[in-house]
């Protein structure tokens, strides 16, 4: 407990933006956790309640035209969206680490090829490619398929950062020292370079997560998401296609917008907090 307290006070003092971001994301996480424990999440399915109900004691945030309880949709949707961000973040970071290290540490032809792929893919609008792939798929799109899809197009920028960091670290004296004392390439990467890169890796994870969530919500808003799951993006898609706004049903479209905004602001604050760790010159901001 005491350790927790000292970490908290240190964070509040040195890196308030990271603290604020962590609080927002943890808030969403506990909202989902508590929601799953206290609310019947089956009510997020269609025709589980009366359609088009205003918010009341029975339906805290009303229901949509298909009879989904919006409050339950928010709980389930927050969980699903957090899952997309977390899993896609891990997958994308894995790709970024492998390619970034190979490219930066070993260099040569491999570096040229990887750099070329990154440059080309960075120019291609991710949504355009995702739309084609998702539209071509015959079976209904599952959440896991979508996670793989969005993760496969969100690793490019972190790869670039990791590569350039590795490239500069490789030339440091302590790396030459390690090499002279007989460490292998893999050993040097894992024991000497990796620890220095932790803030960059964490920042890469956050950036991939947020790109992936952005892409997945974008796909869902186009109707290319998992149709049978109440994700936040699908809630927005249904709200748009049933013209919830024109019918004055604010409780339908506003809650997913608010949750998504909290999520993105949280991720952004964490990312800029990590920036502060990785790039000490930015501390001049205060």
């Amino acid at each position: 407990m005491k350790v927790m307290k000292s970490i908290l006070s240190k964070l509040r003092h040195d890196n308030p933006s990271m603290l604020a971001g962590l609080i927002l994301i943890l808030f969403l996480f506990f909202f989902w956790l508590a929601g799953c424990a206290f609310v019947d999440t089956k009510r997020a399915q269609p025709i589980s309640g009366l359609p088009d109900q205003r918010p009341s004691y029975q339906y805290l945030l009303g229901t949509d035209s298909n009879g989904r309880d919006i409050f339950a949709v928010m709980i389930v949707g927050t969980g699903l969206t957090l899952r997309v961000g977390f899993l896609a973040g891990i997958m994308g970071l894995g790709i970024a680490v492998i390619l970034g290290f190979m490219s930066g540490f070993y260099g040569g032809v491999l570096d040229t090829i990887i750099k070329g792929i990154v440059d080309v893919l960075l120019t291609v609008p991710p949504l355009a490619v995702l739309v084609v792939i998702a539209a071509m798929r015959a079976e209904a799109i599952t959440l896991n398929f979508m996670i793989i899809l969005v993760a496969s197009l969100s690793w490019m920028l972190p790869t670039r950062t990791i590569r350039s960091q590795v490239l500069s670290l490789r030339e440091r004296a302590y790396i030459s020292m390690a090499r002279l004392s007989g460490m292998t390439g893999t050993e040097i990467i894992v024991k000497e370079i990796m620890p220095t890169l932790i803030p960059f890796l964490a920042a890469g994870f956050v950036s991939i997560s947020s790109t992936a969530v952005l892409a997945s919500i974008g796909l869902e808003a186009l109707g290319l998401g998992p149709q049978s799951l109440p994700t936040l993006g699908m809630a927005i898609y249904w709200a748009i296609s049933f013209s919830a706004m024109l019918r004055g049903m604010w409780w339908w479209w506003a809650p997913p917008v608010v949750v998504i905004i909290i999520l993105f602001v949280g991720l952004f604050l964490i990312a800029s907090g990590l920036d502060l760790v990785a790039n000490p010159k930015l501390r001049r901001l205060r």
Binding site: V129, V132, G223, M245, L246, I260, S272
Partner: protein, 337 residues
């Protein structure tokens, strides 16, 4: 600008266009379980309430007509030849319209909206970010930081939804939906342009506000790092006017990474703009894309995607050409490498 730099950029441009063209050739052929022609015939037959007994033969006949029965390399060659002339064939959903005509009808809307909004947001955001980092700026600017931060984190189209709610639904000063008044044929008369402008305000504002938030935060970071450098101290020790230090030393240098990041994030931004169009029903490529997706019109879909990739690739190429003009070190770098 060295010739090698130019050649490299042209090479990347060609590579991107080739990759995009190949991608839209390969993907539909990988999805063997879904046959656009069979689906389309099925839909038409369903709409007519009449199911032909020899549907399989009809599918074959149409496949022959579209050249889908030829060897794969032959198909690839034909596909590339067609794309070189921007010929994407007929739209399946809006038959007998050609995809080319549908796209050229929607393209000006997207280019005007996205181009103008991106430019404004970039300039506005960079200036705001520079002022946020400048120690002598008025104090009240610091209080706008939380707003700027929130704007930068919100996806364009969600901001669009909020703007529609505020300025088209609650206070009805801007139209809700579309790109021009209903029943008006698009033309270049002044009255039409004014009408179209009125419809572009909200979607434009969504892109500008969210984009400006992003650019200003990034600019603020770069400026703050730059302001601590020796050349700024030296300039102020020499007695150069504050105003000149701000524009010619601090902003000038911080703009270079801004432009790099503009080139890198164009793809992301146009993805956002597409969704803004969908939310506003703006008659550009985004709305057309939604129609193509919902009716599984593969020709239209691949045509739009190809054109979008083309726009981004060309825009990135132009920015890359401007880059050495902004940063004189680029041409030296080559020689020392």
């Amino acid at each position: 600008m060295t010739a090698i730099y130019l050649l490299k950029k042209i090479g990347i441009l060609i590579l991107i266009i080739w990759a995009a063209a190949t991608l839209i050739f390969i993907l539909p052929r990988l999805a063997t379980s879904r046959n656009p022609i069979a689906e389309r015939l099925g839909q038409t037959a369903g709409a007519a309430g009449y199911l032909s007994q020899n549907a399989a033969e009809m599918v074959k006949a149409w496949e022959a007509k579209f050249g889908l029965d030829q060897p794969i390399l032959r198909q690839y060659w034909n596909h590339m030849k067609d794309l070189a002339t921007l010929d994407f064939g007929y739209s399946l959903a809006f038959y007998p319209s050609k995809v080319k005509n549908l796209i050229s009808g929607a393209l000006p809307w997207t280019l005007c909206l996205f181009g103008t909004a991106t430019l404004i947001s970039f300039l506005l955001g960079s200036l705001a970010g520079a002022l946020l980092a400048w120690p002598k700026s008025p104090k009240f600017l610091q209080y706008t930081l939380p707003i700027v931060l929130t704007l930068s984190a919100v996806p364009y189209y969600l901001l669009g939804l909020v703007l529609i709610f505020l300025f088209a639904f609650t206070i009805r000063i801007f139209p809700l939906y579309g790109g021009h008044s209903i029943g008006v044929v698009p033309n270049l008369s002044l009255s039409f342009l004014v009408d179209a402008l009125r419809y572009s305000v909200l979607p434009g504002l969504a892109i500008i506000l969210a984009g400006a938030g992003f650019w200003s935060l990034q600019m603020r970071g770069t400026m703050v790092i730059g302001l601590g450098e020796d050349y700024i101290n030296y300039a102020s020790a020499k007695g150069i006017k504050e105003r000149n230090i701000f524009y010619r030393y601090a902003v000038r240098n911080a703009l270079i990474p801004q432009v790099t990041s503009l080139a890198v994030s164009l793809g992301q931004m146009i993805s956002g703009a597409i969704l803004v169009e969908v939310v506003f029903g703006y008659p550009g490529l985004g709305t057309l894309l939604l129609k193509a997706v919902s009716s599984f019109d593969y020709n239209l879909l691949s045509g739009i995607v190809f054109v979008i990739i083309l726009i981004v690739a060309v825009a990135t190429f132009i920015i890359d050409l401007l880059y050495p003009v902004m940063d004189p070190r680029i041409s030296y770098k080559r020689r020392s490498a």
